[in-house]
Structure formats: structure tokens, C-alpha cells
Symmetry: C2
Subunit: 202 residues, 2 copies
């Protein structure tokens, strides 16, 4: 029975406060251990594959450090627009340019997820994709948003849970996936590892 | 210029912590004044119309109490399933029954929004609709969720920002509208009143 109790400990292999917030809102209370993965050292042929490769690398690196039986969650998000993967903008000028080109259009937010059960080495992983329909903020709104500094901190230069929420008209899919972690996908991946998500509630 | 400064004060005519949280995440910091509207005394022919009538009644009641020039926001949410408007479940047995009948299906969350500018009496209102695709929690998950008490507190017996988030596979539309307030719709309604939402940032 002690093994059963141990394996219910969750570890989030990500420094993202947005991911931690989503898990906490859903009644989960993971420890946070940030991996030392060099994201720029990994490559893939598509944005969806890149998100998955990075999620797996983060979860694998953190799982390797753990002695106890725990469930490790790794995630990585990219915004795909015109087939290109967009991460964080380099500076305010790039954030401004991004918004001028993406307003009124749609992109796809892809988040790779990987869950590893260190009790037995089993893993489950998948990428969730959510279509994001950007609204049409005017030049003054875009300038105010960039001046707030927020878009420089996030993949795709926008947030669904921050100051640009009024500039996103709607989505198709799971909103948590856009913020950084899909809870319905996490539930499915945990199920593949024979763990019921409600049994993880704090 | 004092009138310009005054009219930028926001008032949320709702006791919902979820609505307040959405506004704060988006950089807005409203005062909260709860209306004394008797929701059961109002009727309408459709769930969408009911949400709008209630939102307008709440905003109107609070606006009438204010002496200063302020922007008052009223909202009301209902889940429409099979043409019926579903509010909060009466008890645990009803919450259990709701989830057994709605899992694997889709509903439409309708939130009425009304914004009143007390400086001039102008108002703008509309209802936003978001399709919600429920997942398929098993009987043990539904029982755990109902036992948590959360579904008894919310319209439709589910949350997108709480413990049932893993049981919602996805949405079509704005996620804030499901949680209680659509920020892109609020931006549009403020625009109709010649107010830019970024000018309201705290």
C-alpha cells in the first residue's frame, strides 16, 4: 500500500506559473522541479513534433533525478502560424510586429505532454492542438499591450489568461492547452498509466 | 477632464469570484457591488434571452445606486442543454444525475452581458454563446466530483476553471464566457460606449 501512496505524488517538470495554476485550480498540488534541458539543442520537423520532443526531454530529465515513485509531467508549447513555430518574441519591436501580422487571423497552439511513472518507467505522451482566433486590437491597443511587457514572456506573444484575453475572439479545443497544459489530455495520459486523476486530488 | 477620469471606474454587478478573477487577470480592477435582483422573478422565452434580461436587470439595479460616473458590468450565465436552461443543481443527487446525462455530449453556455455608463445613461448589451464538449468521466470520477461539493455552486454543475476541467474535452468560442464573463465581448461593448479597454488597465 505504501507504493500506491507514493506513486500518487505529482511532479511538474516546468517553471511555468500558468501550468502550476491550471493544475492547482483542478485540485492537484504538484512539486515543481525545473529541468536543465537546453531547448535550443533539440530539433524536429514540425512544430507539433518539436513540442512533443521538448515535453519528453523535460519529463525524462526530471524523472532521472528522482529516487521515489512519482508521476512526472513535462510540457512544451508553441504557436504555429503559417507552418512556423513561434516562441517568445525577442523584443518589443518583434512583439509589435507579431500582433500586427496575426490580428484578425487564426493560429494553432500546440502543447506537447509527457507523463512518466517513475515507479515502473512507463510513459504516455501526446500533443494537443487548439485553434486560436485572434481578434482585431487597434494600433493603440497593441502598443499598450506591448508596453505592458507581458507578450515578451510568453510563447506566441499572447496570453489567454492575461491582458490579451480581450484580443482573442475564441478558440476551438481546450483552453488550458493554450495556457500551457491540457487537463483533459492529462486525464487521458494518466488513464493510460492506470491512474485516475480524481485519485490525485490534494 | 475629471469626468474622463471618473468614467474609467469599473463596477462589477456580480458576487461571482470567477468573474472578478477574469477581470483581474486581464488587468482590470473593478469595485464589486452585488445587486438585490430577484432572479426568480424574471422570465424570458429562451435561455439566451433569460441570461440577457438578468444581466441587464443586475447592471440597471446597481447603476441606479451610483452617484458618480462609472461603468457598470452585469452578467448572467446559463447552460443550455436540449433547449433547457440549467442553473445550479439543487443537491448532490441532481448534480450526479446531470453529469450522468451530459457526459459525452455538448451544451451551450450562454452569458448575458450589459455595460452601463452612468455618466450619460448609455448602455450596450449582448449575449455570448460558447459550445462546451463534455468528456466522459466514469462513475467513480463523477462521484468524486460531486463529493467535492463544487458542482453545487455553479450554473450547469461544472467548471472550466476548477475540478471538472479534466472532464471537458474542449469548447468552441471564448473560454471566459464559460467561466462567467467574455472579455472579447466586454471589449466590444465598451467600444460601443467609446471606451478602449486598455485605457481601463489598473
Amino acid at each position: 500500500m505504501s507504493a500506491m501512496t507514493d506513486r500518487r505524488t505529482l511532479v511538474l517538470a516546468s517553471a511555468s506559473p500558468a501550468r502550476l495554476g491550471l493544475l492547482r485550480q483542478a485540485g492537484l498540488d504538484p512539486r515543481v522541479i525545473v529541468s536543465g534541458v537546453d531547448e535550443d539543442a533539440l530539433t524536429a520537423t514540425t512544430p507539433a513534433e518539436l513540442a512533443l520532443v521538448l515535453a519528453e526531454a523535460k519529463a525524462t530529465a526530471v524523472a532521472a533525478e528522482l529516487a521515489d515513485a512519482e508521476l512526472v509531467i513535462g510540457c512544451d508549447s508553441v504557436l504555429e502560424l503559417d507552418g512556423r513555430a513561434l516562441g517568445k518574441p525577442a523584443d518589443a519591436a518583434e512583439a509589435l510586429e507579431r500582433w500586427r501580422s496575426m490580428r484578425g487571423r487564426s493560429g494553432v497552439l500546440r502543447t506537447g505532454h509527457c507523463v512518466i511513472d517513475t515507479a515502473n518507467g512507463r510513459r504516455a505522451s501526446a500533443t494537443a492542438s487548439t485553434t486560436v482566433h485572434f481578434g482585431t486590437p487597434d494600433d493603440a491597443e497593441v502598443a499598450s499591450y506591448v508596453a505592458s511587457g507581458e507578450p515578451l514572456q510568453v510563447a506566441g506573444a499572447f496570453t489567454l489568461d492575461g491582458r490579451s484575453a480581450p484580443f482573442v475572439d475564441g478558440i476551438e479545443g481546450d483552453h488550458g492547452n493554450v495556457i500551457g497544459l491540457s487537463l483533459p489530455l492529462l486525464r487521458r495520459l494518466l488513464g493510460e498509466l492506470d491512474v485516475r486523476i480524481t485519485d490525485l486530488w490534494a
